[in-house]
């Protein structure tokens, strides 16, 4: 029961999934991070996320903001869910079996009912998965859903999924909020009918969501709270003030500069979550741009003052990164790759070799990409000393992703944590990936990626992902200075919080795990 999580996802092995299920059911986590008093039923809390707007939705496929993901995890249940270390655990699917990572059989949990009383079954799963492929759904994960070649009910509680190619990570993919299960045939999501731990009591886009406990939730004893009100306070200072004045009990995305205030308050604490979130410098490799010159790329990577960025921008709530997207605590992290350091002399050398000294380039940053404006300022300051003149263009968040990100030779991007190495590499680094930010093309990388995806042996996978990290580190037009630590602030009476590396609020899924200890 209390065994530490396996170092690599158990994926398709029924036995390990079963063990994980016991862990989740007991509501206990290894490491003793649960509050001393233990779970307790009842209570009402108010929680503040970062942003909400009229685009707020109860359709899991359309979820675009962290507040959406949080709301969806309250109302809906998933086939799988993330356990400690992002290991996928069974949820509505009791088991996921495969022998070739292509053909998967899902055995569904029986006796689960939607909030309106309808029994949950195979048809709901088929509908929930296939709707992402329909352009009219406007699903955010449509590129991922394209690999569902066939999804078919093989019994009232059994579903067969045939993938277009082998993918050992399917259980991890299905735990994302977008793949939460909705009722067969649902077109209007305003009522939020799911199998999740809470029922929607009221939902007003751009204002707030109130949910009440689902007494029929299939996990015994859960959830604990009577009611949760989810709002969003976009201004960080206001958000922390709301926490400290007792108006909300849990807030997301605390600025490192506010941590001191929260820690100084006797009734409050912070929850640190080391994650693979990063804000990265993008140097476009296509066309005849100076940023496509390999020496320019190396010069810029050597100009990133990672220590200063970690210390000044993030007050040490960050981990130095090595220009590839896999963080040091990841099971597939390659530890023999030398850490690239801030080195103006090397930068000058590469710049000279590229013949680009005295070059003047605009660099685009935006509050939309966390910390990028300050990173651009740091870069500008250091670049000036080696004869590279960068003009910082701070763009408003509004329209940044559609009009500036990846559209200029030098821009900044921001990549949220992904549950698997395959996902982040497939979405952001593969030659034909939709968000291959720097338009980097490497055939060997692409081949390794497909091979690793279908590989079931963890040791071999680690080797393959290790080589890919080396390729990105050396050649890709992306500079990753640090991984940003996520910080939530909470009332000390709120029990059951623990970090989940996917995002704040326990990977947005805190609602079913926390209790009010007052």
């Amino acid at each position: 029961m209390t065994a530490p999580p396996p170092p690599v996802p158990p994926l398709s092995r029924r036995a390990l999934l079963g063990a994980g299920a016991g862990l989740a059911l007991a509501g206990l986590a290894p490491g003793g991070t649960w509050a001393e008093a233990g779970p307790r039923r009842g209570g009402r809390i108010r929680v503040a996320g970062i942003a909400s707007s009229t685009a707020d939705t109860l359709d899991p496929a359309k979820g675009g903001l962290s507040t959406d993901y949080t709301r969806h995890y309250m109302a809906y249940g998933g086939l799988t869910e993330y356990g400690p270390g992002l290991v996928p655990m069974p949820a509505l699917a009791e088991a996921l079996d495969t022998s070739d990572q292509t053909l998967w059989r899902l055995a569904l949990r029986r006796g689960v009912r939607f909030h309106d009383g309808t029994p949950f079954g195979a048809a709901d799963v088929v509908y929930s998965l296939l709707r992402h492929k329909d352009p009219a759904t406007a699903s955010k994960v449509r590129p991922l859903a394209e690999q569902f070649a066939e999804v078919r009910a093989t019994g009232p509680h059994e579903v067969m999924v045939r993938l277009a190619g082998p993918n050992a990570d399917l259980p991890a993919i299905l735990a994302q909020s977008h793949f939460l299960v909705v009722k067969d045939g649902t077109k209007d999501f305003s009522a939020g009918i799911g199998t999740g731990p809470y029922r929607i009591k009221s939902f007003r886009p751009g204002v707030g969501t109130t949910v009440v406990r689902n007494d029929e939730y299939w996990k015994p004893g859960k959830p604990y709270l009577d009611e949760i009100e989810l709002i969003a306070i976009p201004d960080e200072v206001s958000r922390v003030n709301a926490l400290l004045s007792g108006d909300v009990q849990l807030v997301m995305a605390v600025n490192p500069r506010s941590v001191g205030r929260i820690k100084a308050s006797p009734g409050h604490a912070v929850l640190e979550t080391r994650s693979s979130l990063y804000t990265n410098l993008i140097m476009r490799q296509d066309g005849l741009l100076p940023t496509g010159n390999p020496d320019f790329v190396l010069a810029m990577k050597h100009l990133l003052d990672r220590d200063l960025i970690r210390r000044a921008l993030f007050r040490n709530y960050a981990t130095v990164a090595n220009d590839h997207p896999i963080p040091p605590w990841h099971p597939y992290f390659r530890d023999d790759l030398p850490q690239r350091a801030f080195d103006p002399e090397k930068a000058r050398f590469h710049l000279r070799r590229a013949g680009l000294e005295g070059l003047r380039l605009p660099i685009y940053a935006s509050p939309a990409a966390e910390g990028s404006v300050d990173m651009a300022s740091v870069l500008q300051e250091h670049a000036a000393q080696v004869g590279l003149r960068l003009a910082v263009n701070r763009m408003p968040s509004d329209g940044y992703w559609s009009s500036h990100w990846m559209k200029h030779p030098l821009t900044f991007g921001n990549t949220n944590p992904r549950p698997t190495a395959d996902l982040v590499f497939s979405l952001f680094y593969k030659s034909d990936a939709p968000w291959n930010e720097s338009a980097w093309k490497d055939e060997r990388f692409d081949r390794l990626l497909v091979e690793a995806r279908g590989e079931a042996d963890p040791a071999r996978r680690k080797e393959l992902y290790g080589e890919m990290q080396g390729l990105v580190h050396a050649g890709c037009g992306v500079g990753i200075p640090v991984f940003i630590t996520l910080i939530d602030g909470h009332d000390r009476r709120l029990g059951g919080l623990r970090p989940v590396a996917l995002g704040g609020f326990m990977g947005y899924a805190f609602a079913e795990h926390v209790w009010w200890g007052a």
Binding site: S53, A55, P135, K140, R142, G206, I231, S238, S245
Partner: protein, 330 residues
């Protein structure tokens, strides 16, 4: 024209005011048409459209195309505008693209909040501004005048967001007297509502009082220098009597105008206060609409702000005319 206006003035301010109201309704329609055209033109300069902004960072060309069709964005822009205009003329402001519900419903959820905030702020700031303005004008150049002057100046000397944040730090975090976020709950009593709106109202009042008080003072002082005031004084009238019976009616034009301007700020200009106190009003709805390129919603917000402004200035002009029929307002 001049002759008829003079005749109307002769029959009294009420008749002039009535004619003015009728004329203004016509002019107001022209203004609203102009506003919608400006909003449409300027917003069509914005990069991206509702489909792209909805999908955000995860937009792919196929997904955008599909959503565009769903939103009706595949039609040419002028056609969409005319269609919207036609709908509005028929009393239907259309559907919000992003929220996927009638615009009227979305607005109805926010407008009462904005009106409440603006109304409370006006109730606090207008009497205060009049008091400060008239008092300092009557005691011109006295110590009181200078003190009030510096006090009103100091009130606008700090950025709004700083004032609001300071207020939260003092009254919510330290003293725990007032809630840091202004949540208006359905069914909440007046006491609770007032308490949760106290700081937003205070912040907004700080912003608008100075302008109104100073214009009041300037307008009153300008009249105090006129010969008819000398005459009234010579007749032996007390200073208060002179101000209220003779000066104010003549000074009322600029005063109510300044007030109309300041008060119209309370709806659309409350964006910072709405953001800091997390108050669901119309200004943040409009910013939402801009960010999500939700044209029907954006237009509707613009229409509401424009209508409110027009009503305020109309009221100001009516008051000015009723107080002083000699003025013919255009």
């Amino acid at each position: 024209m001049a002759g008829t206006a003079d005749m109307a003035a002769g029959t009294g301010g009420a008749a002039t005011a009535l004619r003015l109201v009728l004329k203004r309704l016509g002019a107001g329609l022209v203004t609203m048409l102009l506003v919608s055209a400006v909003v449409f033109t300027v917003s069509s300069l914005l990069p991206g459209d509702a489909a792209q902004e909805t999908l955000g960072q995860s937009a792919t060309p196929e997904a955008v195309a599909a959503l565009r069709q769903q939103y009706g964005l595949d039609r040419p822009a002028p056609e969409r505008y005319l269609r919207w205009l036609g709908g509005l003329a028929a009393g239907d402001p259309g559907r919000s693209l992003v929220a996927n519900m009638p615009v009227a419903e979305v607005i109805a959820g926010r407008l009462p909040n904005s009106l409440l905030l603006a109304g409370l702020t006006a109730a606090v700031s207008v009497p205060l501004a009049l008091l400060v303005g008239i008092l300092s004008a009557m005691r011109q150049d006295s110590r009181l005048d200078r003190g009030l002057n510096i006090a009103t100046l100091a009130m606008v000397a700090l950025p709004e967001f700083l004032v609001a944040t300071l207020a939260v730090l003092a009254f919510s975090v330290e003293l725990r007297l007032l809630p840091s976020i202004a949540m208006v709950k359905a069914g909440a009593g007046w006491g609770e509502t007032l308490r949760s709106l106290a700081m937003p109202v205070m912040t907004l009042s700080v912003v608008v009082v100075a302008q109104m008080a100073r214009m009041t003072r300037a307008a009153v002082i300008a009249q105090l220098g006129q010969p008819y005031v000398e005459m009234a004084r010579l007749k032996g009238l007390g200073p208060a009597r002179v101000v209220f019976a003779h000066v104010l009616p003549n000074a009322v034009g600029p005063i109510v105008n300044a007030m109309a301007l300041s008060l119209s700020y309370l709806l659309g200009g409350a964006i910072i206060v709405e953001t800091i106190f997390n108050y669901p009003g119309l200004a943040s709805l409009m910013v939402n609409a801009v960010a999500s390129r939700d044209m029907p919603l954006l237009q509707a917000c613009a229409m509401v702000f424009c209508g409110a402004y027009l009503l305020l200035v109309l009221a100001a002009d009516v008051v000015a005319i009723l107080a002083n029929p000699r003025i013919r307002q255009g």
